[in-house]
């Protein structure tokens, strides 16, 4: 068996005096797609932000390749891609400029590859239109173009299917599956009925509501 990429041990998080989850333990193995599910307000996004390192209000242990994540901040950030609810797209910049800026801190990518990625998400011809003139779905697609060129082994995706049309949803599903086949690990939260062969689940909430 291979080693888990990311491991959560007894994770506990409280938000606004409300216990979101406790004793939450799971492992994220390479080559898997894991869906985090649960009704609204059960902490799916919070869990993903905790895993990404954007939220520090938690207790428990997070292991990156078997060692505490805090010891390997740089290695973790270098090998993790987080796509949040807010897509990280500047409305005033064009898709090309946005993508270039988002990749700039990670690795050098030629403009050809960037425009191929944009074309791959159906944005060919929109490369030089300011993003505020694009539709909500198109703006999300700019962020999704990163997935086509991402080389990070761990993806944390928050509500990737929001505002995406049916064809786009199918394309993303295929992409996630292909990613898992290549040995990448994907964690995804969604309200879309995602069904992939071999998909794992983390269910939050579970009908209980914790009250403090």
């Amino acid at each position: 068996m291979s080693e888990p990429l990311l491991q959560a041990v007894n994770l506990e998080c409280e938000r606004d005096e409300r216990l979101l989850f406790q004793n939450l333990s799971f492992s994220v193995m390479p080559g898997t797609v894991t869906r985090i599910e649960g009704p609204n307000g059960t902490g799916k996004t919070t869990l993903l932000r905790i895993l990404a390192g954007l939220n520090d209000a938690w207790s428990g242990e997070l292991l990156w390749c078997g060692e505490p994540r805090a010891w390997h901040r740089e290695s973790f950030l270098r090998n993790m891609l987080y796509l949040g609810h807010r897509p990280g797209i500047k409305p005033l910049l064009t898709p090309m400029e946005n993508l270039r800026a988002l990749m700039a801190g990670r690795r050098t990518v030629s403009d050809d590859i960037l425009s191929q990625a944009l074309a791959g998400t159906g944005l060919a011809g929109f490369e030089n239109v300011p993003c505020r003139n694009l539709s909500a779905g198109q703006q999300r697609r700019v962020a999704l173009a990163r997935l086509l060129i991402a080389d990070e082994p761990l993806w944390l995706l928050d509500e990737v299917f929001t505002a995406i049309d049916a064809d786009g949803v199918k394309a993303i599903e295929e992409l996630l599956q292909q990613r898992a086949a290549e040995g990448g690990a994907v964690l995804v939260t969604t309200h879309h009925d995602l069904q992939l062969p071999g998909m794992k689940r983390i269910t939050l909430g579970g009908g209980q509501s914790y009250e403090c």
């Binding site: 987080y82 949040g84 500047k90 700039a104 801190g105």
Partner: protein
């Protein structure tokens, strides 16, 4: 499925170096600012308005303006930097680019330093460049104008750097404006006192090297400490959102 072995993690060394990442952050901020020029003009117009309204409201007499001109310009510059601070992280926070910035593998304080530098070049530096014109308007003599420009050149980056801490701390709050001012103004006061003090000393013919050295010390202190504080504050704000 290729789950037998873990895919090789990419070594940290393969990431983009901090300097290159800082340049990218800086360039993006400058580009965004030039797409929205009215935001660039706002602090400048405010600066010009305050300085021109003062003689009209108080006294247009040469003696009064000579004495208080430097103070007026400094206060106006300080307030106009304060006005522009809320934008430093706010837009990035709203559209999610700040999350991506925090998740870059490079040290966060360096990226924030790049952002703050962009903020200073876009708001502080134009104020300094405008100062000679407004200085002459309030009857300051040539020597005073030169010293005033120098103090603002050293002082406005300090204002941007200290302001970055406040902007980062108040990021998650709904009505951040008042709190931001309350937090930041006390820290601005020493800069203001020494900034105007330098010009006053120069007008009396006293040596100003000591004043300027102190202002330089403020700048070095802010440059070395403020980015760390702002980075920590950003993480806290991000955790609470």
């Amino acid at each position: 499925m290729n789950a037998e072995s873990r895919p090789a993690l990419k070594p940290v060394e393969s990431a983009i170096g901090p300097v290159q990442a800082m340049v990218a952050v800086f360039m993006r901020d400058v580009r965004v600012a030039f797409r929205q020029r009215q935001d660039l003009l706002n602090p400048l117009l405010f600066f010009i308005m305050v300085v021109t309204l003062f003689p009209l409201g108080v006294s247009p007499e040469v003696a009064f303006l000579k004495q208080s001109g430097a103070g007026i310009l400094w206060v106006a510059a300080l307030l106009s930097v304060l006005l522009s601070l809320d934008h430093l992280f706010r837009h990035d926070f709203d559209d999610g680019t700040l999350e991506q910035l925090i998740l870059q593998p490079q040290p966060l304080f360096l990226l924030i330093l790049a952002k703050t530098l962009a903020h200073w070049i876009l708001t502080g530096l134009p104020l300094v460049l405008l100062t000679p014109v407004l200085g002459i308007m309030v009857h300051l003599d040539g020597n005073s104008v030169a010293i005033l420009c120098l103090t603002l050149l050293i002082g406005t980056p300090v204002l941007s750097l200290i302001g970055a801490i406040g902007a980062a701390l108040t990021l998650g709050l709904r009505s951040a404006g008042v709190l931001l001012s309350l937090l930041i103004i006390p820290l601005y006061i020493p800069v203001l006192i020494f900034g105007t003090g330098t010009v006053a000393a120069a007008a009396e013919g006293a040596p100003v090297a000591g004043y300027l050295a102190l202002m330089g010390a403020f700048l070095v202190l802010a440059l070395t400490l403020a980015p760390f504080a702002a980075a920590a504050a950003l993480r806290i704000s991000m955790s609470n959102s």
